[in-house]
C-alpha cells in the first residue's frame, strides 16, 4: 500500500504548482511495470485530495506499456514483466518504457 504515500506526494506536488487555483483535472503517466496500481491511486486520490485545491478533480491515468530494448541487438519489444528474453536469445535487456511515475499535466481554473 505504498500508493497512499505516493498519492499524497502527487497531491502535494500539484497543489504546490497550482498555487491557490482550483485544479479541475490531473493527468498521470503510470507505467505498467512501476509497482504502482492505478486503481489504488484512484482510491487514495479521493481521500488525499479532500480539503485541498484538488478536491473533486478528475484523475486521468495513462497506463504506459512496458517496452524493453535488448542490449545485445538493440531490438525493442513489449514486456509484461521487468524481465524477459529477446528473440536473439539474450536476457540482458533494458526497460525503456513502463516504469513511469509522472504527473504529466494539470488543468487549473
Amino acid at each position: 500500500m505504498h500508493e497512499l504515500g505516493i498519492t499524497r506526494n502527487i497531491v502535494s506536488i500539484v497543489s504546490e504548482q497550482a498555487k491557490k487555483k482550483r485544479v479541475k483535472k490531473i493527468t498521470l503517466d503510470i507505467g505498467k511495470l512501476s509497482a504502482i496500481l492505478p486503481d489504488s491511486i484512484r482510491f487514495c486520490f479521493d481521500i488525499c485530495s479532500k480539503g485541498t485545491t484538488l478536491e473533486n478533480a478528475e484523475l486521468k491515468i495513462n497506463e504506459i506499456q512496458g517496452i524493453a530494448k535488448c542490449k545485445n541487438c538493440d531490438n525493442e519489444f513489449e514486456i509484461e514483466q521487468l524481465f524477459g528474453r529477446c528473440v536473439c536469445g539474450s536476457n540482458d535487456i533494458k526497460c525503456i518504457a513502463g516504469e513511469e511515475m509522472k504527473i504529466k499535466e494539470m488543468e487549473i481554473i
Binding site: 505504498h2 497512499l4 536476457n91 511515475m101 504527473i103
Partner: protein
C-alpha cells in the same frame, strides 16, 4: 512523513543515537503542503474599485481551464535528496550500501558478523531502519561500532531525507563504510533511492527460491544478492540452482554470494567484494 506507505498524519519517524542516547523526532522539513489550511486573509482596507469587466474571460477559463504541463516525477523530491546524500558520501570517500530484504533474512546477524570479522581492516558504521524498537541498533552497538537507529513508525522504508538526518548524527569518518539496514520489506525500498553506492539484497534459503521473480523490482535494483543461511540447506527443500536462475533472469548482472552468517561459510567472498569496493573508491578519490 509524506511519501511513506500508508502512514497516518500523526506518524513521525524517530531517530535514536546509540552513542549519546538522544532520541529525536524527525520533522518533515521537505516543505510538503499537508493541507494545513493556511488561509491568510489578505483583505486590505483602501478602496480600489475593482470594476473592470472580466466576466467574459473568466467564464471562458472556468469552462475550459488552463492546462499546465508539469512532467514532474512523483518521487523527484526523494531522488534529489538522494543525490545530495550521494555527493556527501563521495566527498568523504565513504562506501554506502543499502541492505534490503524481507524481515528475518538475517541482515542484522550478517552485519554483526561482518563488522566483527573486518574490524581490523574496515571501519564500518551503521544506520538501522525499523518500524519500531532499537533492538537491532543495540545488537550492532555491541560490536563496538557507531550506530544510529531510525524508527519509521508506520512507514515501511527509509527515505533520503531520513538518511540525511541519520548521517548528521552518525557523523561517519572519511574512508569508511556506512551500512544502511533498510526496513525489512521487498517492495517499497526498491523505489526509494537513498544515495547509496548500490543495493545489496539479502535472501535466506528458508524463503522461497522464486522470490526474485516475485519481487523483480528489488532484485533488479540490487547489484548484489547475498543468499544467507546456507548451513540450513540440508534440512530444506530449497532449490539453490532454481533460485540463482530466478535471480539471473530478473537481473543477469547480479553478483551472488552464498553465505551463512552463523557458521561463517562463504563470507570471505563477500568480504573480498566489500574491500574491493572501498579500495576502488579510494583510488578514484586519489586520481580526482
Amino acid at each position: 512523513m509524506c511519501v511513506t506507505c500508508g502512514c497516518s498524519d500523526g506518524a513521525k519517524a524517530v531517530l535514536t543515537n546509540l552513542e549519546t542516547g538522544l532520541v529525536s523526532e524527525m520533522i518533515d522539513d521537505q516543505g510538503h503542503s499537508h493541507s494545513h489550511g493556511h488561509d491568510h486573509n489578505h483583505d486590505h482596507d483602501h478602496n480600489h474599485s475593482h470594476n473592470h469587466d472580466h466576466d467574459v474571460s473568466h467564464t471562458h477559463a472556468s469552462l475550459h481551464g488552463t492546462t499546465v504541463s508539469l512532467e514532474a516525477d512523483i518521487l523527484e523530491k526523494n531522488n534529489r535528496l538522494a543525490e545530495r546524500n550521494r555527493g556527501w558520501f563521495e566527498g568523504r570517500n565513504i562506501l554506502a550500501l543499502n541492505l534490503v530484504s524481507s524481515p528475518g533474512s538475517g541482515k542484522t546477524t550478517l552485519l554483526e558478523k561482518t563488522i566483527t570479522d573486518l574490524k581490523q581492516e574496515l571501519l564500518i558504521n551503521v544506520i538501522e531502519g525499523d518500524q519500531e524498537t532499537i533492538n537491532d541498533a543495540k545488537r550492532i552497538r555491541a560490536t563496538g561500532c557507531k550506530v544510529v537507529q531510525i524508527n519509521t513508525g508506520t512507514g515501511c522504508h527509509l527515505e533520503a531525507d531520513m538518511l540525511a538526518r541519520g548521517l548528521k548524527d552518525l557523523n561517519p569518518p572519511l574512508d569508511s563504510v556506512v551500512m544502511i539496514e533498510n526496513v525489512g520489506n521487498l517492495v517499497c525500498p526498491a523505489l526509494f533511492d537513498l544515495g547509496e553506492k548500490c543495493k545489496v539484497a539479502i535472501l535466506s534459503v528458508t524463503e522461497g527460491e522464486d522470490k526474485p521473480l516475485k519481487y523483480p523490482h528489488m532484485f533488479r535494483s540490487a547489484e548484489v544478492m547475498i543468499l544467507n543461511k546456507i548451513d540450513l540447506l540440508p534440512y530444506l527443500s530449497f532449490d539453490l540452482e532454481e533460485c540463482i536462475k530466478a535471480a539471473k533472469t530478473v537481473n543477469p548482472k547480479i553478483k551472488i554470494f552464498q553465505v551463512s552468517a552463523t557458521s561463517g561459510e562463504g563470507l570471505t567472498q563477500w568480504y573480498d567484494w566489500l574491500k574491493e569496493q572501498l579500495s576502488s573508491k579510494k583510488s578514484i578519490g586519489k586520481t580526482a
